[in-house]
Symmetry: C2
Subunit: 348 residues, 2 copies
């Protein structure tokens, strides 16, 4: 097992997160004691990855009662509603954040939680449940994907979707881990994933720990390698899957999917069902976050571009469903046509 | 006019080059007095861009007689043949290097050049001619492309193909400059072009000087922007075009071309005819340079990846002809079918 935890609750009221901005050079854990700090940490990408930020928001909420144990329930509930709003606005694209907050919000409606300690305990056990389920879901996704991974497989992976992006195992990277643990010979081509280099920094860091063979490539090299060395499949995570299968994920995913499609390389999206948003009809309705220019103009402390260089920095893109071979969820594999089959998944 | 020269000859025997590795932060000119130094400068990418390295190799050859003016013609010619080999091996993909050395080599066969000073003068005037013609060719390419540029055009450009990549004007960037100079409203989305960031570092630096509006994007964002903001065309240069139109260019070009094709965005390749290699039947025969791992693991002095991260770093890719709308040369525009039409271009 790797020697890190992306996020952890600490009594009496602390959310501890591994500061992913400093990886792979420094392994620093930050402690947060207010929901505002947690929201800022999500915005600043101390923690990232759709499942992980859902869990961070859930634990962030628990800080409200935890740090006011002698307060009035009514006031704490009002503060919690404010916290739901602030945490929900910390990043716009991943739906897990909204989902986790909605689930936590249901606790607030329970009339029997009429003291702050009861409220805190129940919120905390709900947050723990979300975290625990996330790890179980990841394992199920990994198992469900096994039939798609050849015994000897070269796999392109984009961004980071491992233990850092989740509570402990990973979605797309979880699939790769499961295949590796089951004895398949997997070799990963790791898209470095500009601008924030989650592949080169974080996925490389994880794969070194897991002993899974890989090489880092620039994002522009994926098509060339499909043509020249042969690639068996691509697997990515997602920040939000619309009801028609359109998938929002880290910028560069769409280019990868189109090039895979053109080269006949299967393209799989690994998602907990919590990342599927049946209330969003298609990708056109997904809000794409624009992030600061300095993510493009600088790498670490190094300035790349001339002073005053203008930048466009969309953090995500939408891959239309037609480029997706299948969605791999904890409840099973969903094939096209996604509109029908996603409906079935949620009603079965 | 911009205040830089990518390459210049200095009497009695110096090749001066702008050190493009240090841009945009420092504008440093290096002087080279031996062909070995020039070859190393090409390998190390002090100068880069297919047309520019052709000219660098030509001037590099002139250093042999220039620095041994009292030598024996026979020995100098033997040394020149060695220099042709060393300079020709300095980078493998761009054909202009081979072409320029072949053209310079013809001078060596002229029996009337029976003294070292005669040899030097003739080689130098040939190198000057190559340099002068390169600038003229670039202007012609720019004019020939004008009909393809709408009055208001959003253009994606990959790598650097401007005054830095040539003697003074540019190929693909020359097209953009011509359109801008003719009063068209061009807006450039500049692919930053990992790993060496020729877009973010060099193209941005040039466009700021020319006053042409642009924004830098990560390479993975091109498809998203075609889908969401609308892109009128892509234009790139080339390192070698095969007889069937397959085009070797900076890594990432193939992904861009596939995504453009999928989005119905025209994809133009701007090339001097010297970049077209009729002796190479298809892209499969083009040798793709692999470059050092540290181009991917580091940006400037900043280390991205964990220690001991393995990397795959192909410097170029091949875009099959089917993704190319047209080749724009100084002799005119070449449309598919490229096999027939390139033959016509060279026989007309």
């Amino acid at each position: 097992m790797p020697a890190f935890k992306s996020i952890e609750w600490g009594e009496p009221g602390t959310v501890r997160m591994l500061d992913q901005r400093l990886l792979p050079h420094q392994t620093v854990y930050n402690d947060y004691t207010t929901y505002q700090e947690v929201a800022a940490a999500i915005t600043d990408m101390v923690i990232r990855g759709a499942p992980a930020i859902g869990v961070a928001a859930a634990y962030g909420l628990v800080l409200v009662p935890a740090n006011s144990m002698d307060g009035q329930v009514k006031e704490i509930k009002a503060e919690l509603l404010k916290a739901v709003k602030v945490l929900g606005d910390s990043r716009p694209t991943a739906v897990n954040l909204v989902w986790a907050l909605k689930r936590m919000g249901k606790v607030l409606e329970r009339p029997e939680l009429d003291t702050v300690p009861k409220l805190k305990d129940t919120l905390l056990s709900e947050a723990h449940a979300i975290a625990r389920e996330d790890a179980e879901i990841n394992r199920s996704i990994g198992r469900n994907a096994l039939p798609f991974i050849p015994e000897k497989a070269t796999i392109i992976h984009h961004c980071n979707t491992g233990g850092l992006a989740t509570v402990e195992y990973g979605t797309a990277l979880g699939i790769i881990r499961t295949a590796h643990e089951c004895g398949k010979q997997v070799f990963v081509l790791v898209d470095e994933t500009r601008p924030r280099l989650q592949g080169g920094r974080l996925t490389a860091w994880e794969l070194l720990q897991y002993g899974i063979p890989f090489k880092v490539i620039v994002d522009g090299a994926s098509g060339h390698l499909m043509r020249t060395m042969g690639v068996d499949l691509c697997v990515v995570g997602a920040d939000r899957v619309a009801a028609n299968g359109d998938t929002a994920n880290k910028i560069g995913t769409y280019n990868l999917a189109v090039v895979a499609h053109e080269n006949g390389v299967p393209f799989y999206v690994a998602v907990p069902t919590t990342t599927i948003d049946m209330d969003t009809p298609s990708g056109d309705q997904i809000k794409i976050e624009e992030r600061p220019e300095n993510e493009v103009t600088h790498v670490g402390t190094w300035q790349i571009t001339p002073d005053d260089t203008p930048v466009l920095n969309p953090a995500f893109d939408v891959t239309p469903a037609e480029y997706i071979t299948a969605l791999i969820t904890e409840k099973g594999v969903v094939y096209p046509p996604f509109i029908e089959n996603l409906k079935k998944l949620f009603t079965s």
